[in-house]
């Protein structure tokens, strides 16, 4: 009896499952790759078409930028001056050739702005998470609190986060705390609601099993309910981040503070009518939001769900 295959059914279970899984992968990987190549090609073609139309008909680049203008603006914010957007002449792209103008910089604004926004996000999101997790768990534990706050939170969650800005300005003034207030209020309701909903899906049998196995009082929370709530936590974390990020960008756009975040750069672009910078900052925002969502929160969620055998749903 030194092997699990004492029981024929268990012995056969594995070989049946494994080949199926690998066959599946093999069948998927090739179409998967060609699919991505196709997608990339289409995007590339669109970019070429877009850029080409600017080059040929010289369309109004101050109303909407060509890809090359966006590249210039981005590099400019990184402290590198280029003229990709200029007509192809001698010295392109390092020397000015045409008439296209954007805010002269030579200063690495973008990394600074990302750092400023990052710090704000870290602080604000931590506060929002702490509040959201606390209230989500409290609402799950005490049904009265849920009856009291649940509908309110659902309502507040529908309020676009920039709508908190006037209130934040009037209560706290134009300063860092007001930005944090917008961020926190814009995201923690969503976290709390998502967590409560997730906690409700914990099968009651875990609690019963825990009690039977002598996990009483705080132990029940620490060793049973807390780990059982991990999938719910992971999705509420992800949900909370996307709300927090959007709130922060909105708040920074409106607040003109000394510490210049990404939203501030966006607004500067508007003030100087530099549409290339506006689009460049927007792309950076999207890229950061997506990267963090994909590579941090989706990963956490996937791992937890895998562990629980819930199959990744991203």
């Amino acid at each position: 009896m030194d092997s699990d295959s004492v029981l024929p059914r268990d012995g056969t279970a594995d070989p049946v499952v494994r080949p199926l899984a690998t066959a599946d992968e093999g069948a998927h990987s090739r179409p998967h790759r060609t699919k991505w190549i196709k997608i990339l090609l289409v995007w590339l073609a669109a970019l070429v078409l877009w850029e080409g139309s600017y080059r040929i008909i010289q369309w109004k680049s101050w109303q909407f930028p060509a890809p090359s203008h966006v590249v210039d603006a981005t590099l400019d914010m990184l402290g590198v001056r280029t003229y990709f957007g200029d007509p192809l002449a001698e010295g392109w792209p390092w020397q000015r050739a045409g008439a296209h103008v954007h805010v002269a910089a030579g200063d690495a604004k973008l990394p600074k702005a990302i750092a400023v926004s990052g710090v704000r996000l870290l602080i604000g999101f931590s506060i929002s998470l702490a509040l959201g997790i606390f209230l989500g768990m409290a609402m799950w534990t005490w049904s009265f609190l849920d009856d009291l706050l649940g509908p309110l939170f659902l309502g507040l969650q529908t309020l676009p986060s920039v709508c908190w800005v006037p209130l934040a300005i009037l209560t706290l003034g134009i300063n860092e705390s007001a930005i944090l207030m917008v961020l926190v209020l814009g995201s923690f309701f969503a976290t709390a609601i998502a967590l409560r909903d997730g906690l409700r899906t914990i099968p009651p049998i875990y609690e019963r099993a825990g009690l039977m196995l002598a996990a009483t009082n705080w132990r029940l929370y620490r060793y049973v309910l807390l780990p059982a709530s991990l999938p719910a936590m992971a999705s509420s974390l992800r949900q909370g981040f996307s709300f927090a990020w959007r709130s922060l960008m909105g708040a920074e756009l409106i607040f003109m503070l000394q510490n210049q975040g990404l939203g501030f750069l966006l607004n500067i672009g508007r003030e100087f009518a530099d549409v290339a910078q506006v689009v460049a900052v927007m792309i950076v925002m999207i890229a950061i939001g997506m990267t963090v969502d994909r590579w941090v929160f989706a990963q956490i969620e996937r791992r937890v769900r895998n562990r629980f055998g819930l199959m990744a749903a991203t």
Partner: protein, 291 residues
């Protein structure tokens, strides 16, 4: 007569057994517990229901006895088990385990649930270890007990696997091991094999029987399957529904493991089945008349 029919039977000592001398290692060093379970006048009515789920049940499970409860769906079998487990409170009556009243869930009455209830965030061995950790058993001893338990359920190499990586039958075995390592006085099993296929069931019956013969635990077992009941039980309790009472008891004095081709077993199966069918018919008739 081998099959005795007892109405409100007085406690009888358990049937003859064939004990195989197998060494389970660390599991054997645990001192055996008597595990005599006494239910007296036990009653429970859920709020907003017309009939009591359990009414005036008197039942004594002798130390080491294998008692199987059968009955139609909704007659109160799970309620009975949950009462003993301490998951729900009774309205009236007493539950005594070795003369001590039961008030809350605890590791002396380990339960195997129908849907295993293993923790998916832990591996199989961590699940088995869980109760030991909670009761403060030192790490080295835990390790030994878990290893012994894994061998006992014939899964010595699957300890590192996560729950969703195990088959249904393996999960139930892990659930049984998780309950057994605690050295409970009574093992409660609520339709533990209901969701498994026939072959796996038969295998697990053999294993449960083997475990029972080895460890001598008192087992209170709920099932829908008459075959399962007759295979395992020292005594079969057929419940009456609405209100949940004991309808009839069958004391089975046949030795284990039982020969299913023998006429006695055949008779017994027929008798128990008849009893349950009568109960279902009675309950249906009552329901139709009542409406």
């Amino acid at each position: 007569m081998i099959v005795q029919q007892l109405e409100r039977a007085a406690p009888v000592t358990t049937a003859k057994r064939i004990a195989k001398p197998v060494e389970w290692g660390a599991l054997h060093t645990a001192p055996p517990k008597p595990g005599r379970l006494v239910l007296r006048n036990l009653s429970k009515r859920f709020a907003d229901s017309k009939h009591a789920a359990i009414e005036d049940i008197d039942l004594t499970c002798e130390s080491g006895e294998f008692v199987v409860v059968v009955g139609p769906s909704g007659c109160g079998k799970s309620t009975l088990l949950n009462l003993v487990a301490g998951m729900i409170r009774c309205d009236r009556g007493d539950i005594l385990l070795d003369d001590k009243p039961i008030t809350e869930p605890g590791p002396d009455r380990a339960m195997v649930f129908q849907e295993h209830g293993l923790f998916p965030w832990l591996t199989a061995e961590q699940n088995i270890e869980f109760g030991l950790k909670m009761t403060g058993v030192p790490a080295r001893q835990r390790r030994q007990l878990v290893d012994a338990a894994l061998r006992m359920i014939h899964l010595p190499h699957s300890g590192h696997k996560l729950i969703h990586q195990l088959s249904g039958g393996m999960r139930q075995r892990v659930a049984i091991a998780r309950a057994l390592v605690l050295n409970p006085a009574v093992l409660l099993m609520d339709e533990p094999f209901a969701s498994l296929d026939a072959q796996t069931r038969t295998l697990l019956h053999e294993q449960v029987q083997e475990l029972w013969l080895q460890t001598g635990k008192t087992i209170l077992f709920v099932t829908h399957s008459v075959g399962e009941a007759v295979r395992l039980a020292d005594r079969i309790i057929v419940l009456h529904s609405n209100p949940g009472r004991i309808r009839r008891e069958f004391k089975i004095a046949l030795p284990h493991p039982r020969d299913f081709d023998s006429p006695e077993v055949g008779d017994l199966i027929r008798m128990v089945r008849k009893e349950i069918e009568d109960e279902v018919n009675r309950a249906n008739a009552e329901q139709i008349n009542g409406q």
